[in-house]
């Protein structure tokens, strides 16, 4: 891949991708390593087309796999998803309110966090989310509904 093309992709995607990784993984310090590894894998096996349209969801797909691998590794060590969230880097939260929002978000399952972030923050369609999360397109609607339901319940609590 051409260096200039990679730099363009990196400069446009690095910050939002870091935000996605930090929020879904619940760990800002781990997000740095995951972000770097995601781009290294991207360079090792780039998508067929290096346009932003292809590169962006491909990067999110790699990052999601790395986040889930990390959760599986921590689970094998006996750390639950919620405990991981409690270890979240305080520097990621601007103030107390955002720390509370992070705690609410962290109570969701990793897949629910991914679904909601990709749909509502990144603005991806269900078909694109299905590709990123390697899920059946038909099941995204149901999973999204359940994720929304859980978040709404947590917000009302």
């Amino acid at each position: 891949m051409d260096d200039a093309i990679f730099e363009k992709i990196y400069n446009e995607t690095a910050r939002p991708l870091w935000a996605y990784i930090a929020r879904v993984s619940g760990d800002g310090s781990a997000a740095d390593d995951i972000l770097q590894e995601a781009y290294l894998r991207f360079l090792r096996s780039p998508p067929r087309e290096t346009s932003m349209l292809e590169a962006r969801p491909y990067l999110y797909k790699i990052a999601t796999n790395l986040i889930y691998d990390r959760f599986r590794r921590l689970k094998r060590q006996g750390v639950s998803d919620f405990e991981v969230s409690d270890l979240a880097d305080a520097a990621v939260a601007k103030d107390e309110m955002s720390a509370e929002m992070m705690q609410v978000f962290a109570r969701l399952k990793p897949q629910e966090r991914s679904l909601l972030w990709l749909a509502y923050v990144e603005g991806y369609e269900h078909s694109e989310i299905a590709v990123i999360l390697k899920l059946n397109k038909l099941s995204i609607r149901v999973l999204m509904f359940r994720a929304r339901q859980r978040l709404a319940k947590l917000l009302d609590a």
């Binding site: 770097q36 520097a91 309110m97 955002s98 923050v121 603005g123 609607r141 509904f145 929304r148 709404a152």
Partner: protein
């Protein structure tokens, strides 16, 4: 909660996220529970995204490119070393099996020259095997050294020039 999707859900998602609901949308939200839920979640998600800090120290693209190239070179070296390691292992195996065969067939087969050669070889062969094993361990050590650099394990100094 309403599982049914509304045809305006995507628009509601975008507008609610940007907090730019217009009169038409507000009228729609008043009559559509699905979109009301979507607007609530979208608004919260966008507030959540904006309320948290970004990365404190983002690596420049050049450093990622540099590391990727370094890993590529290390992989190439490892691949180049593999046949050598296999040949060394094969040579060691042949040497040992040759010794065993000579031992089993007896030194009398082939006459006194073979017997003398075998005796000399029997002295040198263990040293040769040790040398081969040491060479193989050295190759493994070098490969592990490169592998550690690839996975980033090691002292994390300052981000800049951390290679």
């Amino acid at each position: 909660m309403n599982e049914k999707e509304c045809e305006f859900e995507q628009q509601v998602k975008q507008l609610a996220g940007r907090h730019s609901e217009n009169t038409g949308m507000r009228r729609h939200l008043a009559g559509c529970p699905a979109c009301r839920e979507t607007a609530k979640i979208a608004g919260w998600m966008h507030r959540f995204a904006s309320e948290t800090n970004g990365p404190q120290d983002l690596r420049p693209a050049g450093s990622i490119l540099f590391k990727a190239r370094l890993i590529e070179k290390q992989t190439a070296v490892r691949r180049a070393l593999l046949p050598i390691m296999w040949m060394k292992a094969l040579a060691a195996g042949l040497a040992v099996s040759g010794l065993v065969i000579l031992q089993l067939t007896g030194s009398s087969a082939g006459g006194p020259i073979v017997a003398a050669s075998f005796r000399a070889f029997a002295v040198i062969a263990p040293l040769a095997i040790i040398a081969v094993i040491c060479a193989a361990l050295l190759c493994v050590g070098v490969e592990r050294l490169f592998r550690d650099a690839k996975t980033g394990i090691g002292p994390r100094g300052p981000r800049q020039g951390n290679f």
